[in-house]
């Protein structure tokens, strides 16, 4: 291509291209028809490309998902083997505890607790909270004398059992009496209910009792764990010359409880 032809052709084409681009000649119907005809020829290639890209993306996503699942599986397997090991260690510990209990002739027996979950359906209308009525009676195998507790404190004892409900007397009730201990001490006393405060009976003058100390219900056979009855609210020299007068404020507020555990005493 000679010099002049090269320059003229190039510049003409550039100017022509610019005019066509900016003047929207491409929107003329004849040009559009031509363009769409060409595009129709290319369309299968574009569709093929779109399909390939989407399939590739899906496959890639599935592969990544599988890899993640495989990694998670490995982690879970490790965790499982570690848990199995811990379980075995725990079993060994339990066996050792049982052996120790046998050797020392001590038995907690707590894990043999037999209980049912129940709902309080009626409260004492007098406001003294002397009793509550709970759901479940003979139909659930509840019997008189069964202990009713929350997670920590004592709600009372089952006094009477009906077909589908039971009446429970609370630590505010004078009919309520049980064995109790002060804190972690071994000496046992008798707790007798009362409103607004119950009392701890037969506390010797020489026994050291302080206000605020916790009073726990214990069972003679030690089949159930200790549950909190209340806290010592007052200690004084009573009328009895041999014993102290110890007042205990019950911890449970039956009116605020919805669900309780009924622990069946072993018979």
């Amino acid at each position: 291509m000679t010099g002049r032809r090269f320059h003229i052709l190039s510049l003409l084409v550039v100017v022509f291209g610019l005019i066509v681009f900016f003047s929207d000649l491409s929107h003329i119907s004849y040009v559009r028809a031509f363009v769409s005809a060409i595009n129709r020829v290319v369309a299968p290639v574009v569709r093929f490309k779109e399909r390939t890209v989407s399939e590739l993306r899906e496959e890639l996503g599935a592969y990544i998902h599988r890899v993640d699942v495989a990694k998670e599986n490995i982690q879970l397997k490790r965790r499982l083997s570690s848990l199995l090991l811990t379980e075995k260690e725990l079993d060994t510990c339990l066996a050792e505890i049982e052996q120790l209990e046998k050797t020392m002739k001590v038995s907690s027996g707590f894990r043999k607790l037999d209980y049912v979950v129940s709902r309080i359906v009626y409260y004492d209308p007098t406001g003294f909270d002397l009793f509550v009525i709970i759901e479940g009676g003979k139909n659930k195998g509840i019997k008189e004398g069964d202990l009713v507790v929350t997670e920590r404190s004592v709600i009372g004892f089952v006094e009477s059992v009906f077909s589908s409900t039971s009446r429970v007397i609370t630590p505010f009730n004078e009919k309520f009496s049980t064995t109790a201990v002060l804190g972690t001490r071994k000496k046992r006393y008798i707790y007798r209910g009362g409103f607004p405060e119950g009392s701890l009976l037969h506390v010797n003058l020489e026994d050291r009792v302080e206000v605020g100390e916790e009073v726990y219900l214990v069972e003679l056979k030690r089949k159930i764990p200790p549950f909190l009855i209340g806290k010592v609210s007052e200690v004084s020299r009573g009328k009895d010359p041999f014993f102290k007068e110890v007042k205990v404020k019950p911890e449970a507020v039956p009116r605020e409880e919805d669900y309780v555990f009924v622990i069946r005493r072993s018979r």
Partner: protein, 149 residues
Amino acid sequence: MRYALLFLVAIFLQVVFLHGLFKPGFLAPDLLLIVLLSRAYLIGRDAVLWAILGGSLLDILTDTIGLNLSLYVLSVYLFSLVYERFLFKSFLVFVLPSSVVLLTKKLLALLMMRSKFSFEASFQTFALSWLIEVFAVVGLYFIYLRRKE
């Protein structure tokens, strides 16, 4: 014949793959222009005719009639003017003018599209696209053009 086939493959790659990958499509690395520049490096001014053909085909396929035609021809024209100043062929004689021409073409395309349409184009995409073009130009020189010198 071999070049014509390569040319068509480059056009389809440009339209189907690169324009779909880069948004907006005209910012995509211009494989076709690189092929045209290498043609200009080998056969000289006659490459303008290929640029006219390539620009027209690309315009029809991408619905931007006139844009690629003028920019391709302008690019090859400018490359030829610079390249003819040197009496020898070398790495720099091909790579430097090519890189500058590719950058100019990309910039002009951006300005022309902006003056007609409104859109967002990030600087990162622009720079990345041009860097890919420079790598392609360098690669093409070492793989193919060096043997023709």
